[in-house]
Symmetry: D3
Subunit: 189 residues, 6 copies
């Protein structure tokens, strides 16, 4: 009953533009496998490049949010959007970044009951509001962030990560993007 | 930041009625640990006994639904109800029952994209309707079940499992019931 | 156009296990009629026994909540779940327990406008949150209960009643359980 | 704990414009009591007159829908809007019009499980769609009405009744309009 | 692809009762065109008269709310109800009343981000609560209105406008009422 | 009461990286003004570049969807997300692309009642499903698209536009991004 990687066709690596093929090969060397999102998006080279540039601008930059915290945002909002690929793949990355085998499953199920700090709770409350009711975001939300030491720029980062993965969640659901088997056990110690 | 087992007090094993203490000790011998739900409910002996009797009547009985399928119902509806304990504990049981390390995480994130059979898809669609909009269940739903070979008695079983764990999900969220660390890695192969 | 008691078959009383038949006969003697829920559940003896034990553990025990208050919880949450049997049958019981012919219809329509005390309003707000968004229950809710003199154990009772009848509401809707004609006029004075 | 008729002030009958006072006195003679909606709206004479004219245009006119059927629409949509006054007052009128002591409570709790004809079921499904998601009404809905013999003009009537009482439900909730005690027992046989 | 004025038939002006024909002719002289709502409702003379009387009682009366503010309420709630006719026609009236070519489009898209005063923000928050969750309106809402100088009678006016146009929105969606082309550009300066 | 462009600071053009400043100057020459989204995003150069690259990959590419149709998707989904900037700015672009002064306001209010083709209706239904319930997208949706001649690649385009602007809508709401005054009247003929 195993499903395909995507309901859309996947190009052969050899047919991809050089920059995309090389990026995929680099990821494969580093991770030991090619995360399916790379394969699934590669049929649209311009979108692929913009997606990866956006992703890296949000997830790899310096800032007050730790890399584990950024992944918490991805997992919490992707669970609300019921995105199987994102919950499973970024759950794995969160376990690794946080060096915590439990945190991803906790946040995916109900972040309000997870082993997180009060600052992280406020961070995730804001991420979820951006994800689910952005039209109601108001100055009161920024004040709550400020009260736990999260700056205007942190607010932007949280919102941008929640928004970018909201896009990603929708596309993954439309393409029925399948998470690689490797992700399920990564970081479980 | 690790949270307690429950926000309510947990009696000492020695203070429990004999039948409950013995049941807990039996579970501990069999599983190697005491699932927290037993400890958390033990402060209310009459409710504990009824809960366990109900659980066993639904989950251990004979019937057309396999034990793995029953756990699929638990995981899918508990994810919709955002019950951390039930998703994580029954996710583990589902992995073991189905002998499949991937299925629980798939169903928890979005059962519509999981590696399940068409019959299981109809089963979970019905379970989710009972869980979320039972007031709209109609003969058309029974007809869809029948079309994949699920009988009137199977419909009852599916509905009863979704309903019973809907109760369990609510209580677990009210008590902030914590899943035992052991569950996270069980059945991952 | 009168509907049957349940869309599932109803066993003959003579075919039921002795304990269940006797319990039903006792209820009939006391009430003058057999509430349909007893007949509808009797086809599943193990579930019947667990259901009744659970019900009695929650509704007949001692505690700070009066029996009328417990029935208020049933009526308010059953109305939200659109359970015809529970609203009508427990509406009757509420009228009798509260010695008030108006209260059940008021609570069923909109408990926020009913003739209840501030303590009962907080009790019902909490019951409704457990019923509809249990995943968001937090310490702030317990504080609101405490402010009107409702203890931790009262909180458990409210939550357990809302959760148990949430299960019951779902099953009643799945079986299209019909309320006995007797219930409609009981307790109307 | 009994609440006032309305949270807004109620003029004295003697201070009302003649036409409104006379209309109220006529209702009182006919019914034996003054339904609170007349008192509560009388503080705004122009709105009072328009409201009553609209009400009578929809509820007293000739047409294919029986008067009982029109009251079914009121009760079903008012229950969805959680309007205590409308559910209780029009529940009484429905019992009288339908000469059926059970129908109002059934429809208020879950009209899908009520003792109604297939034509009435389609009528109420349409009324509920107009009440809750009018922006999605489409030609398919008119086709469903036509299939049970409900005409274009019947569709207008159903929609207008659901819409008018949607207005009434909102105002009654804003003013916390209390149903007269008399309504609860009327028509219960 | 241009749609008709209404999915229901439109009587000829000559066939209308005198008072309705004259009212329509007066509007036409004043506005330069006949807003389609007059034509669409004219097939039901009694409803037409009650509708117009209600409309004028709410929109043309004296009071603390300016005529522009009343139109803000119409536009905000009609947008939430996805009523094309009301958003476009009353958007035009709002631009004219407020002498502001931007305000209607802002409020239709998201009134929380519009160029309005704090008092108008509270007014629209209350109007939206009446429109969407009137059953939860409570004294706290009246206190918020009072804090920005909006009286009990203003509260009634806001609620009545939101409720009346909620009725109008539903009927306009059921009849697929088309906004006159003239409205789109009116008041854009 | 006019609001600022964004609640976040806006860099001076002179302080921006050369490529971003030049892109903005080019847009200004072409449009006669600088759409505020360029200014608001410029404080994050890497995100700015990825956003614009993604936008152009979706909106400027060849394909079966006309440029007007792509803007219809933006307007319909942005209205559902209550994004003032996107509804107003892309409403203007839609009017220009479609050479139709009415279409944008119609789609923003309720696309189901707009002057669009059956193919465009299916396109917008799919876009809205991706925007609001992507987790439920299934093969049945692709079949509906196919039935009006929309290919797999068109489905991807629709989904990607709805998803990308879902991200954009969220960020615009978080930053309270103000639409330039020029947009309101553009393309109204």
């Amino acid at each position: 009953m195993s499903q395909p990687i995507s309901r859309f066709d996947i190009p052969k690596l050899a047919d991809l533009p050089d920059d995309i093929r090389q990026l995929i090969e680099t990821v494969q060397e580093k991770s030991g496998f090619i995360p399916n999102v790379f394969l699934a998006l590669s049929r649209r080279p311009a979108e692929f490049r913009a997606f990866m540039a956006y992703h890296d601008a949000l997830m790899d930059k310096e800032g007050n949010l730790s890399k584990a915290e950024r992944e918490m945002i991805v997992v919490a909002t992707s669970a609300a959007n019921q995105c199987q690929y994102c919950v499973i793949a970024h759950g794995a990355i969160l376990r690794i970044r946080a060096k915590d085998p439990l945190i991803a499953d906790q946040i995916a199920a109900n972040y309000r009951k997870a082993d997180i700090t009060p600052r992280q709770r406020v961070m995730l409350d804001f991420a979820m509001k951006v994800s689910q009711q952005a039209y109601q975001v108001s100055e009161a939300d920024f004040a709550e962030l400020g009260a736990v030491g999260l700056s205007e720029d942190d607010a932007w980062d949280i919102a941008a990560i929640a928004s970018f993965f909201g896009m990603s969640n929708r596309m993954a659901n439309v393409m029925s993007l399948r998470a690689n088997d490797e992700f399920y056990s990564l970081g479980r110690g």
